[in-house]
Symmetry: C2
Subunit: 473 residues, 2 copies
């Protein structure tokens, strides 16, 4: 924390606040009670800072950062405040810089299949704008209405299409960012092939705002298929789900758009709460798989789903399947996967984990972890679901956050994270490190990699102006 | 250059050479005449160094780097020596470290569609190994027989599939590299989703060996289609070629595997030399386009190519098309695009350029550049071809390198590189910077980006041990 100033409002120097007011206008700088009226997003800790600034341009952000660096005021950048690991939490003595007003879709180049947008544009806004040209961003996630492109770039967001189109890092062609000294890194190329020097945009992608504030991005778009078809498969094992995924990846007509696995405990919760059932669909399969295909013609896509079913059925005759025959039915199937709020309503702040496991190890991983978790607490029956085509599993404990002692929490992490890095996986697949996972990163990272991370942070942000306490700690 | 040692062999200290001999064995350290017998690759300047070391493991490379750092001996890493911009050239006082003996395919995980390989494995060797599981690396280029995975990672190779599967950066899931202090960066994850801290492998990808020596990589694989179909379209304009590409990207059955444009001057050269012609195919189209589709059934793919032809024909009735009906015919079509040797035999060391142009600007770029080049020298009629789906154009002057004065060369660069960065393109699409393009990078890069590049280089390789004079200079 910086030294107290006699004329400080909260913990921030008055001269600094005057600077910010001059830069962005008084009405765009919120302090005290005015902050309390804002939507803090996932956690009230996001608004622990004394002030929240709403600049409207890259230049205004650069001015704020220069002034913050000069006054030694730490800056916490925020997008849609949907992050789950405390990447946007702030404290007294800090200022939040929100990208909410950087909400312009700068240009869509339909013939290039590229969009250039400001950081505060939500995923949903980009999806809507792109859809006018039958294009889509190639990335999708449930928080699309709030999550911003800048936040998704900064956290290297994943979602349901990553097995096909890559994660956010693979969608970004060009980037503009404000560095910790207030200079503007400008690299808004719109081409996939660019080897003109080190590709430093990848430092800012996934750095959670600790190395620079992303202000604009050029995003690769993909054609929207004319039709989709969606099925739910009830399957006896992870092996069967992986086999289904493999068949989905090699359909002759169209392409696979999603392969989402829902293990029994979470499926029981969502299907029970939403009173979902279907004739001949046994409600208690070990693994349920939502598979979506995209292509030119719905009927042909449904034929493909039928073929996948037939091929699977030969090996797994105990399986069953439902094919959605309307958009309503499609939405109902997706709700079985996406309505994670049901968990948190039952178990407030339930501890959630987000791991990547190489596909060939998923079955062994789950088989090892469940009994080990139950040996910590016999009531544990975690909710398990995820993006099976890329090995990304979400594990949410059936326990309120407040009920978990630090010892139990550490024991749970030890079970879930053991050997993950060594076996080619990752203890953080798409949620990031933020402030919550710093200790786990230190505990599991290759020491050479972690040392290099801190060296890079020091080289770019020696003054620790940007998002202190996050990622490297 | 380091201080001369009284007992030096060439410019290298004897104690250093002893270290290397002890590490890798005398027979794997080549000096003097023994170097002259090796294949230097694209240019004899690759072997300007006093010694060439052939280590066989990551650990041996780490030992060499530690000793080189201690003795102040610069190290030039080399893979297949196919680079076109002098990224592997070396000088007296330096040692070359070749990855040739790191040629093991460590493991292929067919169910994960991932291969872990050592850096010296050639692309062709990986393609062969993956094909046993009906998989392919998702990247392909003409120098596949010599280019190594380590070199392709270090140069962020592009090639013909980048519009679909991304460049090498998008194929790398995990990486191992030796850092300039001899420590080993180990991050061999095999999952696409991984946000466990800064993703520093992207610093080494495309850094041309200036930040670390890549020793292993986990590479994403893709299913090989059961069938392919290939056509050549003769088209009146770039606009028509882009329209064809767009149709290819949205085929209902199968998928587009390649879209390669060959402008008239290069097409005349290759079709003339190889005596290629086809009934009803006019030899003098402004743009010729090779389009390949992949999928389950050849006949259906050819139907798709037929539909693309019919749709294009409505707008461009002057066009014509040839569909390959055998693998021999397919290979003959590809030779029209890939036999660039014909140029260099006619014009030794002909100056070649490799730019990325946003798709919507290709037509304007070509239309501007050709007359401007001819105003420098009226005999200029450059060979033009490239990967049109991602805007990557190769431009080779019809002039021997030796015939071009430095003034003319500078004027040519000024024409070809003008406004490229500002308009969202890149003056170096897939060939890199090496030693040849350092001045052009300095002249065209965003100054903030270039300054950050040098700061990163200093933070990681303060002693300038690795590949000095390349990329940042």
């Amino acid at each position: 924390m910086i030294e107290q100033n006699a004329h400080a409002t909260g913990d921030l120097p008055v001269t600094f606040l005057r600077d910010i007011e001059t830069t962005i206008g008084l009405s765009h700088l919120k302090q005290g009670d005015a902050i309390a009226n804002l939507d803090y997003g996932v956690t009230p800790a996001n608004f622990g800072a004394d002030a929240v600034a709403f600049p409207s341009s890259t230049q205004e952000i650069a001015c704020i950062i220069r002034s913050a660096a000069a006054h030694g005021v730490p800056v916490v950048p925020q997008g849609g405040r949907t992050g789950l690991v405390g990447g946007g939490v702030s404290s007294p003595g800090q200022i939040v810089v929100s990208t909410t007003r950087l909400n312009r879709i700068v240009e869509i180049y339909p013939d290039e299949r590229v969009a250039v947008v400001e950081a505060g544009v939500t995923l949903q806004a980009l999806q809507a704008a792109a859809s006018e040209y039958q294009l889509e961003p190639g990335i999708d996630l449930p928080s699309r209405g709030s999550a911003t492109i800048g936040g998704m770039v900064s956290t290297n967001a994943g979602g349901i299409s990553a097995f096909r189109y890559g994660v956010m890092r693979h969608r970004v062609l060009g980037l503009e960012a404000v560095l910790p000294d207030g200079s503007i890194y400008s690299d808004l190329t719109r081409v996939v092939k660019n080897v003109a020097g080190y590709d430093l945009k990848h430092l800012f992608i996934g750095a959670e705002g600790t190395l620079g504030i992303v202000t604009r991005a050029a995003i690769k778009l993909e054609p929207v298929p004319a039709a989709t078809a969606t099925a739910l498969f009830g399957l006896p094992s992870v092996e069967a789900a992986l086999e289904a995924t493999k068949l989905g990846l090699s359909v002759e007509y169209g392409h696979m758009r999603a392969a989402e696995a829902i293990w029994n405990s979470f499926f029981s919760l969502t299907s029970g709460e939403h009173l979902w059932s279907a004739t001949d669909y046994y409600p208690d399969y070990p693994v349920n798989l939502i598979m979506a295909l995209g292509g030119g013609d719905e009927e042909q896509l449904q034929t493909q789903l039928g073929r996948i079913y037939e091929e699977l059925y030969e090996t797994y005759p105990e399986m069953s399947a439902v094919v959605a025959t309307s958009q309503t039915q499609e939405a109902e199937l997706w709700r079985l996967r996406e309505d994670t709020d049901l968990i948190y309503r039952r178990y407030p702040a339930a501890p959630s984990f987000d791991v990547s496991v190489p596909l060939s190890r998923i079955e062994a991983y789950v088989t090892r972890c469940i009994p080990e978790l139950q040996s910590i607490d016999p009531t544990f029956d975690p909710y398990l679901f995820g993006h099976i085509a890329d090995g990304n599993l979400h594990i949410v404990l059936n326990a309120a956050g407040a009920d978990l002692t630090p010892e139990k929490a550490a024991a749970v992490e030890a079970v879930l994270y053991r050997d993950l890095t060594q076996s080619g996986g990752s203890f953080s697949a798409e949620h990031g490190i933020g402030s919550k996972r710093v200790h786990a990163l230190r505990a599991t990272a290759d020491p050479v990699k972690f040392a290099l991370m801190t060296r890079i942070k020091a080289a770019i942000d020696a003054g620790h102006t940007l998002n202190p306490g996050k990622v490297t700690g």
